[in-house]
């Protein structure tokens, strides 16, 4: 079983401090030990041991890195483009904007879909959080937060609450109501407290737990009802900019990306960093997990995509523990800041700082299409829960909902920056 989260978490007395808590199973020079997350951190920060010098540790670090690359190399028996040769090519894809949601007074920083596939919540720099029924364009609720720059928002799985946070270092939950005139701020519940800005938040499988990432370099899991910190995740050495929950059978994994150029995969139960990917480009702005499952009942796995301030999106295979594809084009100069997969995982939507959304074929590595329309950088793209639409939030104060157009006989026409592509559509 290669899915890390199927390893049942051990719970018991820590081998170092003796306290009973969820244990991390880690290896020290191939010897397995069970420590609680606090002792692991203490150990990681300990000074030099006997016989160690900074130079010797650096040498050991280099040799371990080389060994890791060797191990990974042994298993790279095939490349993604070879596997993709057998897959059929995608036809031309015409995607049309179906709704433009206007109402925010400033840059829209984040959005999230409701599980009912039509509602969404969005937050903006002017401190407002708006709940929309995107299908009818109705604004159902609007909350004004005392702090501007609401960097993140999330819709609860039940559809009964929203969470939002940002520069106030907190993440609060607002229960929604059927009464449109009700003042939601009165029922606000402060859940997460960080020592720096909150960059991302998401509910887990229920309304009762909230996962947040913060500029203080940590992620944390909170109990919504009591506001108690259930687990904190240390491992990033700089601000954590985004996080994404894995839709796996156990629901125990999530990934976070930060300014230290790393994407870390975490086990929610013990706080253990189970996997880590490094790039050598600039910060990681967004990470996204897509789940894939082989029909063989004994194997399941995860793929992760992340990207950097540089104009590249990287695709990682978590099970093989390696980078398998880079999505880039010479004509793309600006960095991407948000990414999401379509339902099957075949399409990757990436929002860029040059106001466009690029569509990539994840298997073939080619760009399928470019979506224009926004008048400022795209801050967030999200595919709806049933995959029927894509919503993009932008610094031009609007959100756009787009979906596939089934009309055939499509010609493309657009003029942009001197190059001319033909595009025509009717539906």
């Amino acid at each position: 079983m290669c899915d890390q989260t199927f390893v049942a978490a051990t719970f018991g007395p820590c081998e170092s401090c003796g306290k009973a808590s969820p244990l991390m199973n880690i290896y020290i020079k191939t010897e397995a030990i069970n420590y609680c997350s606090f002792c692991v951190e203490m150990m990681a920060c300990k000074g030099l041991q006997e016989g160690e010098t900074v130079a010797s540790l650096k040498k050991e670090s280099e040799s371990l890195k080389k060994k890791l690359d060797e191990e990974r190399g042994k298993l790279s028996d095939i490349e993604l483009n070879q596997v993709a040769e057998k897959v059929e090519v995608l036809g031309p894809l015409c995607i049309k904007t179906r709704r433009v949601l206007k109402g925010h007074g400033n840059k829209v920083l984040c959005m999230d879909w409701c599980k009912d596939k039509r509602r969404l919540v969005s937050s903006s720099q002017d401190g407002k959080v708006i709940v929309w029924d995107a299908f009818t364009l109705n604004k159902e609720h609007a909350v004004s937060l005392p702090c501007t720059w609401v960097l993140t928002c999330a819709y609860a799985p039940s559809g009964c609450a929203v969470a939002c946070g940002g520069l106030d270092n907190k993440c609060s939950v607002f229960p929604l109501s059927l009464d449109k005139n009700e003042n939601l701020s009165a029922k606000k519940k402060s859940v997460a407290m960080h020592t720096n800005y909150v960059s991302g938040c998401t509910f887990t499988s229920s309304d009762m737990q909230l996962l947040t990432s913060s500029g203080d370099g940590t992620c944390a899991l909170w109990d919504v009802e009591s506001g108690q910190l259930l687990q904190s995740f240390h491992g990033h050495t700089a601000d954590v900019l985004s996080l994404d929950l894995a839709p796996s059978e156990t629901g125990n994994t999530f990934v976070s990306g930060g300014c230290d150029k790393k994407a870390n995969v975490w086990d929610m139960r013990s706080g253990q960093n189970v996997q880590s990917f490094e790039t050598h480009e600039s910060d990681i702005n967004c990470v996204n997990l897509n789940y894939y499952c082989q029909l063989n009942p004994f194997v399941s796995g995860l793929c992760c995509c992340m990207f950097t301030g540089a104009p590249q999106c990287r695709f990682y295979d978590l099970r093989a523990d390696r980078e398998v594809a880079i999505y880039q084009k010479d004509s793309i100069i600006f960095g991407a800041s948000t990414v999401d997969f379509s339902l099957s995982g075949r399409l990757l939507f990436a929002g860029y700082n040059d106001y466009t959304i690029n569509l990539w074929d994840t298997l073939k590595g080619t760009r399928v299409s470019v979506l224009f329309g926004h008048e400022n950088r795209v801050s967030r793209v999200r595919v709806s829960p049933d995959g029927t639409a894509l919503c993009s939030a932008s610094w031009d104060n609007t959100l756009r909902v787009m979906s596939w157009s089934t009309m055939s006989n499509i010609l493309f026409y657009t003029q942009r920056k001197g190059c001319c592509i033909l595009r025509l559509f009717s539906l």
Binding site: C2, A9, F11, I26, K29, T30, M43, G47, L48, E50, G51, T53, L57, E60, L68, D77, V83, K86, V87, L93, I95, R98, D116, K117, R119, F135, T136, S158, G159, T195, S206, D216, T237, A238, D239, C259, D260, R269, Q275, C293, Q294, P297, F298, V299, S300, R319, A320, D321, R322, S342, S344, G345, R346, D386, G387, A389, S403, W404, S405, T406
Partner: protein, 457 residues
Amino acid sequence: CELIYVGDCGSAGRPSMRGSPFQFRLEAIVVEMQDSKSGVKCSEQKLNISTIPHVITGVDVLTWITNKMKTTPEEVQAFGTMLVAYGYIYPLQNHKKLVMCNNTSLYRFQTPYFWPTQNWVAEDSDYGTVCQMGWWVTIRTGVGTLFGSGTHYSHLHDWMNHKWDFIVMQATEQYKAGKERKKPDRVVFDCQERAYWIVNRPPVSNMFYQQAIMRSKVKSSVSLGALAKYVTTYKNHDPFLAPCLPSNPWQTDNDTYWTCNTRRVDVPTKMRVERWSFSLFELLSDLRGRDDFKTFLKKEFSGENLAFWEAAEELKWGTGSSMTSKAETIFKTFLAPGAPRWINIDGRTMGLTVKGLEHPHRYVLEAAQTHVFLLMKKDTFFRYLKSPVYKDIQKKAINPDPHNFSPAQLEQNAQSRSLGIHPIILWQQEEEEKAKAAAASAPVDVKAMMSKIDRNK
């Protein structure tokens, strides 16, 4: 006085500052901050059991900076954090978080001895001294054993042989001075040194590489092959690659696609039923599919596995306060000897789970839940797919005809978009259904029933 940017804000990294032209201006400001009359307010503070002198709070520092620099709160916060990141001010409470907190967090000014501009490279010999000191302090030996033996000592000796005399001399001085210092000063000095080392010698830990090497990995051909298979399997279910039936609501403004795929629809669509066959995860994630699976399990009299799995999920994702009562109910219903819905798991797992339930926590049922899930995945799920229950629903499932709206009809659709049912109402309905189901499946209290019959007689 304009703000001096000494580095890239927004990163908790520690850019090097040595030789920077700004550092002297920065230091002038830090000196100003310590002025007894016009500087930052400082006081004595109790930390654990000792009283520390000359302590400042984060909010006071930031207020002083605001008054001095007359700039925006964001700039002030950034500047304050830079002072901590570079080591001019160090936190007394949270050593590892090098930020200036705008609250009553306690800080102290770092002694000039440790300022970055002193231009000494944090040398290994100093580190050795610190280690030596640390070793002495932790094993609490008296002056008599200053040159005591021990493997740690001899290793250090070998490692830094060439500087050994210097180190011993330094360490002796520090040790003597340490003993002479009053307790609060020692605590302070300890904090200062620790703070200095956190700024200048980030911990070198190869632990994580070790974990990465030991972690089990899979061949690319296997996992990439699985990825390609998944993508191909779901292609017809992806609304960006294949048309929705009857139509994509966003395209035609008609929401039939959503109404015929609701949670409690009587007859599901063919596509939906097909998706249930992809994996147990898909079947259970779609609550309508889970219902169908439950129907099958009822016929087989083996519903307790799924019921246990559902109860374990509720425990995992529920509120902290409800955990103990849920754990108790689960034990009584599924795990206790002679329980009404006893699950059949191996002895070892049962033993671990029961023991863990003595001090219930969120993940106490993980091992048992995984065991049960794998059982369902490898065996029950495939029997379900071959069963008459599934074949029946496959036959009954409908395939809606694709819509073919004229432009006039599309106009009309756009004018009259359906409001659907609000998720809050749906959730309330679901809660009611759950309560009804729980009541219906509760074990019958035979005594109460018998006494009721007696009373009626």
